[in-house]
Each structure stands twice: as structure tokens, then as C-alpha cells.
């Protein structure tokens, strides 16, 4: 094999692998990323039913209702809009009313949200960064929330 051909083989195979990787990344980015939304985003953007999103906000005080077989319902609010959430499973250690929460799941045709994972932080003062930003935008931010933004570890249940 000549020097030239060897070099071509090398460059050719490198480009080949790269092309495959780019194709994989692009298709995965189209299908498997999840957008974060506040309740107001869900209402204003008209997120189509069936699409997978992350919904974040405060757990509305007094809204948590526990059913049988670990089913639980609660409302997520950002002060302007409120979305009812249904979830079945274990809640994280620091899931509490009035605290920040991020849930991941699917919007149902009724406008309710069916979550299959709930994320909360292991710290009593914690507010997820996305939730903090959303509350600031909607004008429902209180200063005492800010003490510990982003300072605590993350727990999750699925």
C-alpha cells in the first residue's frame, strides 16, 4: 500500500466513525431530551398531551393526598398557575408541602400531569435552580428561599 493510500484509509475510517457519531447524537437529541417547564409554561405554551417534560414548582400546601398502594396526588404551583400531579411510588426524603419539587412525566389530555419520577433535594431550605428561576420570573420569589439555592445534594425517586 502506498503512503497516500494508507493515509486515505486512516482519514476515511476516522470520518466514517465521526459521521456515525454525529448521526447518533443528532437523532438522540431529537428524541430523548426533556424540557423543563413551570406550571405557567405548561399553560401558556400549550404543551401537547403525551409529551414528556419536567415540571417544577412548589408543592401547594394542603394539596397532598395519599391514596392506597403508594399513590399520591399533589398540586405543583408557581403562584400563577397550578397543575395537579399524580404519582405512584416512594417520595424522596425531603418532599414536603410548600417546598420546591421537580417531577418528570407526561401531560395527560385532561391537563393533569402523570409523574413517574419525583426529584427533591435533601435539605430543608433547598430550592431547585429551575424552580427558583421560574418563581423569580412569575414574581412569587421570596428572599428566604434564596439562602441555599443549589447547595444541597439531590435525591430522586422513580
Amino acid at each position: 500500500m502506498t503512503r497516500r493510500r494508507r493515509r486515505l484509509v486512516l482519514i476515511g475510517s476516522a470520518l466514517g466513525v465521526l459521521a456515525v457519531a454525529v448521526a447518533l447524537v443528532l437523532s438522540a437529541l431529537k428524541d430523548s431530551i426533556v424540557f423543563f417547564n413551570s406550571p405557567t409554561d405548561v399553560v401558556e405554551k400549550h404543551v401537547p398531551p403525551g409529551s414528556r417534560i419536567r415540571l417544577g414548582g412548589l408543592v401547594k400546601p394542603g394539596s397532598v393526598v395519599r391514596g392506597s398502594d403508594l399513590a399520591v396526588r399533589f398540586d405543583v404551583t408557581d403562584g400563577e398557575n397550578t397543575i395537579p400531579v399524580a404519582y405512584q411510588g416512594l417520595l424522596p426524603d425531603l418532599f414536603r408541602e410548600g417546598q420546591g419539587v421537580v417531577t418528570e412525566g407526561v401531560v395527560e389530555p385532561s391537563g393533569a400531569f402523570k409523574a413517574d419520577s419525583v426529584l427533591a433535594k435533601h435539605d430543608e431550605n433547598y430550592m431547585p435552580k429551575e424552580v427558583a428561576d421560574a418563581l423569580k420570573r412569575s414574581g412569587h420569589w421570596k428572599e428566604e428561599y434564596g439562602q441555599k439555592v443549589g447547595s444541597a445534594p439531590q435525591g430522586r425517586t422513580q
Binding site: 475510517s13 465521526l18 430523548s32 411510588g89 416512594l90 425531603l94 435533601h122 435539605d123 430543608e124 439531590q154
Partner: protein
């Protein structure tokens, strides 16, 4: 007094680092042996002062000196001594000091063991190493001083984050840092070579042991972190494609590629420019990892504080070093003498293929990790890129790589025989086929990929053994002769086999855990029995206990397997009053390579409690594989040809250098 001493020692270390960053490099340009000789002394001195500073901080923690701000914020007098010790690096300031300590340690090691390096290379390497040290010393002193005092010392500390009160924290960060920061040495070697404008096979022989050392620790550090997440977070996962995990995986992938390309450079004097680029990339990715984890752009257990000043400072360091290194590379690399080309079918070719896949896989992880940050910065849109993305990109790139792995060591240098190697791997392929058939027969239905994945793991394992069997002639000569030959084999051959076999072991563990594991979530009352996979868990009841700095609500389960009593599991929920925090402590029971995993949810008023129960077959293999890989690294490192500081050709040159 002690904190001030530590602070002062750190300032002195910075002063030494400034000397080391300038004088030897200047000396190397002037070819002045006296100036170049300064590097060794300052490197050792720098390490001593940083070590003194770190020791002072440890002393503050051990004595619970709450007049020091970081001690107040991260420690508690009731904490057990071991956690007081480990909380030294369980916070932003202390962990950065550990980072700098390890950086100085590697510099001192080059100074002590690198006596036979050419004087100019040694001076330049230590000089570049010290540029990094200056940047991070300044970072600590200006933005993250761990020795700050509080005017009115509080009586009690705020306690360490309960999740970090764990033995895993004692080991995971130092291991990981030895890996991350270890790549600073290969980076310094690369920059020194670019400054000098000269790079040869001997350079690769010096670089490889350092890369190997860093890689070995990084492997262990990642595995340790993964196991820690598995048993403390209480939801049974061992890898979440979390940006923080990706931040450690990226330098690992680049470092693995570097190990392999340095081999080509050492043996065949080819791939020079590429190897230098990889050395730069591996450390750049370590720096990016430090930035992601320490700047507060990500919220995770690792982001201790989010002071924007720190983020900007690290970003500046990052831009300076990565940008500077790549600019230097673009300018000087074309001047380096190109190495020879080689036939595509050869061991060199196989190693290039390895590099191609590893670097591409690394790039996909990079995109998945940084895309959400870039998108948020540019458009304000918040997205999360999780496991589905990485499963769809990383896995398809890793599978062909694993198919190719056994070919590498069997291929001859210069010109290989693809067909011949394939024939030699027939045995391994046969074992794989049997594995596929057996899995398929046992599984019946189920995902069709599972038997093939098992086959791939067995093929990798058998392929790693094939090289050893052939070289010892195990199946052809008497066992005694084979054993004698096995002893005579170079350690690096054993290292290769172990590292590749470790990959197979981890793969087996991943398949077992993801495909055959079982999960149950339920609410149980005392007296009720939960069953999973022929294991019965009888819930005996709850007890309250008092720990050194927490209350504990423990649930007692009696575990039976097929009716026989095998033990008791006690998962618990702990409340730490000092922080008002709750944590779940999972209970684990090991059965061979499998584990039973039990963690608690919320207790209900009627006396029942929610539990999460997992049966995880082969799960221990995931981390055992990493340990086997690290053993491969250690074996290879102990090879006589590679021992740090013992490359033969340098000795004659070193003897000609004037005394230092």
C-alpha cells in the same frame, strides 16, 4: 494559631510555585543548568508547604475549631473522629486544597523520580506543572480560603451534610483527584515537548507510566463514586449519566486513549502529534470536570457552594490553560518531525481504531453533558439530557470497540494478519456462541440483545485469556513449562489481559443488574411478608435508636431464601437534628455476586411503612470489573521496562549532566 500557620504555609507554597514557574523555564531557554536545577528543589519545597497547610486544616477539623468558618459550616463536635477527618475535604475549600496538594505531590514525584530525565525536559515539565499550581493556589487564596476565621467563634458547628458522613467519602475524592490531577503531569510533559519543539519515542516512555498511574486511580475513583451513590442515595442505581459523573468519565475515556496511543509512539515512533493532543485533552477534560463540579453551574451533591466569583475564576483558569495549550499546539505541532505511517491492518492500526472509538465516545458524552448548559446560556430553554441520550449514542460506539479489543494484543506490529488473528480467536468466539445459546435457552423470551451482550462479555473475557494462553503455550506444553513461561511473561502482558478482562467483568455486571434485576415497592405492616425472587422478607417491626449525632428509625426484616433463614436486614431513616435533615440508609445483603437491597420510604400513621426492595444479580461485578482493570494498570506499571524513572537510555545522558 494553627489556621494562620496553614494560611501562611499556603502563601509560601505560592511563592515557591512562582519561582518554579519562571526560573527553570528561563533556564531551559538559556541552557543554564543552575537555573534549571532550581525546579527540583522548589517542587519538593512546594509539596512540603502545601502538605503543611493541609495538615493544619486537618488539625482544625480534628480539634473542631469552630472559629474557622469552613469547620463551623461543615463539622460538628459530636461527629465520629473519622468523619471529622474526612469532612476536611467534604466541602469546597478543603477539597480544592486537596486538589492542590495532589498537584504538588505529582510535581514532587517528578522531581524525585525524574532524575534521569533530560535536564531541559525536566525543567520545562516542572515549570509547566507550576503554572497550574500558581493558578490554583491563587484561586484558593483569593476566592476559597479555607482558613477564614469568624470573629465570635460559635460553640457548635452546622454539621457535615449527612450524605457525606460515610466511609466512601474517605476514599472516593482522594482517589478521583489522584486520577484527575495525575493527568496534569502528562499535560505538562506535552506542553514541555511543544516548548522544546522536540518529541521522540523516549518522551512516550516517560509519559506512559504517569498516564497509567493517573488512569489506575481514576478507574478506582470512578468505581468508588459509583458504589457510594448506589448505597447512599437509596434508590439502587449505580450510574445516572449525571453531569458530575460524566465529568469524571470524559478524562477517563481520553486517558484510556492516551495510554494506547502512547504505546504506539513508544514502540513505533508514530502518532506523535496525536499523542500530544490527547495528553492536552485528557487534562483539559479534567479541568472542565473541576469547573462543572466546583463552579456551581450544576446542582449536585458535589456543588458545595455557588459563589459566582469562583465560577468565573475557574472559567478563567480553564480558558487560559486549554486555550493556551491548544494555541501552542496549533503553532508548534506542525514543526514536530512526523512519525512513520503504518499499514491499517497491524497492531498500530488496531490501536488507532481504539483511539478513534474512545475519542468519539468521549465526544458524545461531552455533547450530552454541555449541550443543556450551552442551550440554557444561549436561549434560556431548560432541558435535561439523561440516560436515554447516552444509551442511544455511547453504547452503539462502545460495542464495536469491545468487539475489536481482543484483536489488538494478538495483532503483530507493522503488518498484521487479520484472518490469522480471527482464526486464533475462534476459541473465544465458540465460548461466546455457547454463552449466547445457553442464555437464549434459559431466558426463552426477553430482549434479544441480552444473549448477545452476554456473548460479547464472554468473548472479551476469553479473548483476553487467549493472548496469555498462546504466549504461555498452556494447551500445548506441559503445565509446568507453561507456568514457568507465565512467570517469565512481561508484566505489561498481564496488565493488558487484566484490563481487558475487567471490561468484560463490568459488562457482565451491567447486563445482570439491568436485565435480571427485580424491584418491588410496597407498603408493609409489621408481620407482613414481602417476596422477591425466592427471597422472603418478614417485617418484624420498627425500633428507635440514638446515634452519635442522629436519631434513627430502623425497620427490622428477617430474610429467608427458599424457606431457610439467611439473616436480618435493618434499613433505617436517620434524622440529623443539627441540620434538620433526613436520610435513608439502605440495607444491603450480599449473596455471591448478587445483592439484596432494601430502603425505606415514609412511615404511615397506621404503623405501616413504604419500602423499596431490589434483587440485583451480578451487581458486584460492575465494581469488581473496575478493580480488575485497575489491577491491570498496577501490573503494567510494575513492569520493569516501565518503572517510573527507570528508562535505560536516559541513564547515560543523566550521568553527563553537571551536579545539581
Amino acid at each position: 494559631m494553627i489556621p494562620e500557620l496553614g494560611h501562611f504555609a499556603l502563601v509560601l507554597a505560592l511563592a515557591l510555585a512562582l519561582i518554579q514557574a519562571t526560573v527553570p523555564v528561563f533556564g531551559a531557554r538559556r541552557n543554564d543548568p543552575l537555573l534549571m536545577g532550581v525546579a527540583g528543589t522548589t517542587a519538593v519545597g512546594q509539596f512540603c508547604f502545601v502538605a503543611l497547610s493541609f495538615a493544619a486544616l486537618v488539625a482544625c477539623y480534628v480539634q473542631s475549631d469552630f472559629s474557622v468558618l469552613t469547620v463551623f459550616e461543615n463539622s460538628h463536635s459530636a461527629m465520629p473522629l473519622v468523619y471529622k477527618l474526612t469532612s476536611t475535604w467534604g466541602n469546597h475549600e478543603g477539597s480544592m486544597l486537596l486538589w492542590v496538594l495532589i498537584l504538588a505531590l505529582f510535581g514532587a514525584m517528578v522531581a524525585v523520580f525524574g532524575g534521569n530525565l533530560p535536564a531541559r525536559l525536566r525543567a520545562n515539565v516542572l515549570g509547566v506543572q507550576s503554572w497550574i499550581a500558581v493558578a490554583f493556589d491563587l484561586f484558593i487564596l483569593l476566592t476559597s480560603n479555607p482558613f477564614l476565621r469568624i470573629a465570635d467563634a460559635p460553640l457548635e458547628g452546622r454539621d457535615l451534610n449527612p450524605l457525606l458522613q460515610d466511609l466512601g467519602l474517605a476514599i472516593h475524592p482522594p482517589m478521583l483527584y489522584l486520577g484527575y490531577v495525575g493527568f496534569s503531569i502528562t499535560f505538562s510533559f506535552a506542553i514541555a515537548a511543544l516548548i522544546d519543539g522536540r518529541v521522540d519515542a523516549a518522551w512516550a516512555r516517560w509519559v506512559r507510566p504517569w498516564a497509567l498511574l493517573a488512569w489506575t486511580f481514576l478507574t478506582l475513583g470512578i468505581a468508588m463514586g459509583s458504589y457510594w451513590a448506589y448505597y447512599t442515595l437509596g434508590w439502587g442505581g449505580w450510574w445516572f449519566w449525571d453531569p458530575v459523573e460524566n465529568a469524571s468519565l470524559m478524562p477517563w475515556l481520553a486517558g484510556t486513549a492516551l495510554l494506547h496511543s502512547a504505546l504506539v509512539m513508544e514502540k513505533r515512533n508514530a502518532l506523535k502529534v496525536w499523542t500530544i493532543l490527547l495528553a492536552i485533552l485528557a487534562f483539559s477534560l479534567s479541568l472542565i470536570g473541576t469547573f462543572l463540579v466546583r463552579s456551581g453551574v450544576l446542582t449536585s451533591v458535589h456543588a458545595f457552594a455557588s459563589d459566582p466569583m469562583r465560577g468565573i475564576f475557574i472559567l478563567a483558569i480553564l480558558t487560559l490553560f486549554i486555550g493556551g495549550a491548544l494555541a501552542l499546539f496549533a503553532w508548534r505541532a506542525p514543526m514536530l518531525k512526523q512519525g512513520g505511517l503504518f499499514a491499517p491492518v497491524s497492531r498500530e492500526g488496531a490501536l488507532v481504531l481504539n483511539n478513534l472509538f474512545l475519542v468519539t465516545a468521549c465526544a458524545t458524552v461531552f455533547v450530552g453533558t454541555l449541550y443543556p448548559l450551552a442551550l440554557e446560556a444561549l436561549t434560556g430553554e431548560k432541558i435535561s439530557v439523561g440516560a436515554p441520550f447516552f444509551n442511544a449514542t455511547f453504547a452503539p460506539l462502545f460495542i464495536p470497540l469491545m468487539v475489536a479489543v481482543p484483536f489488538g494484543p494478538l495483532m503483530a506490529w507493522k503488518r498484521g494478519d487479520l484472518l490469522g488473528v480471527a482464526q486464533r480467536l475462534l476459541g473465544a468466539a465458540a465460548i461466546a456462541l455457547i454463552g449466547i445459546a445457553v442464555t437464549f435457552a434459559v431466558e426463552g423470551g426477553g430482549p434479544i440483545l441480552v444473549p448477545f451482550a452476554i456473548g460479547l462479555a464472554l468473548y472479551l473475557l476469553a479473548g483476553a485469556a487467549t493472548d496469555l494462553i498462546e504466549r504461555t503455550g498452556l494447551l500445548k506444553v506441559p503445565v509446568r513449562t507453561a507456568l514457568a513461561r507465565a512467570r517469565g511473561l512481561p508484566r505489561s502482558a498481564w496488565g493488558t489481559a487484566f484490563a481487558h478482562a475487567g471490561l468484560a467483568v463490568t459488562l457482565l455486571g451491567i447486563i445482570g443488574e439491568t436485565q435480571w434485576g427485580a424491584e418491588r415497592i410496597a407498603e408493609v405492616k409489621p408481620g407482613q411478608v414481602l417476596s422477591i425472587h425466592r427471597y422472603d422478607f418478614h417485617f418484624d417491626g420498627m425500633t428507635n435508636r440514638q446515634g452519635p449525632n442522629y436519631h434513627e428509625l430502623a425497620a427490622r426484616f428477617t430474610v429467608r431464601h427458599a424457606g431457610d433463614f439467611i439473616g436480618v436486614m435493618e434499613p433505617s431513616k436517620r434524622t440529623f437534628p443539627s441540620r434538620g435533615t433526613d436520610t435513608s440508609e439502605a440495607a444491603l445483603m450480599t449473596r455471591g455476586f448478587a445483592q439484596l437491597y432494601l430502603s425505606l420510604g415514609d412511615p404511615a400513621p397506621d404503623g405501616s411503612i413504604a419500602v423499596r426492595l431490589y434483587y440485583k444479580p451480578l451487581v458486584l461485578l460492575i465494581w469488581l470489573g473496575a478493580v480488575v482493570m485497575a489491577m491491570g494498570g498496577a501490573l503494567s506499571l510494575s513492569d520493569r521496562r516501565l518503572r517510573i524513572g527507570a528508562p535505560m537510555p536516559a541513564r547515560a545522558k543523566a550521568a553527563l549532566q553537571p551536579a545539581e
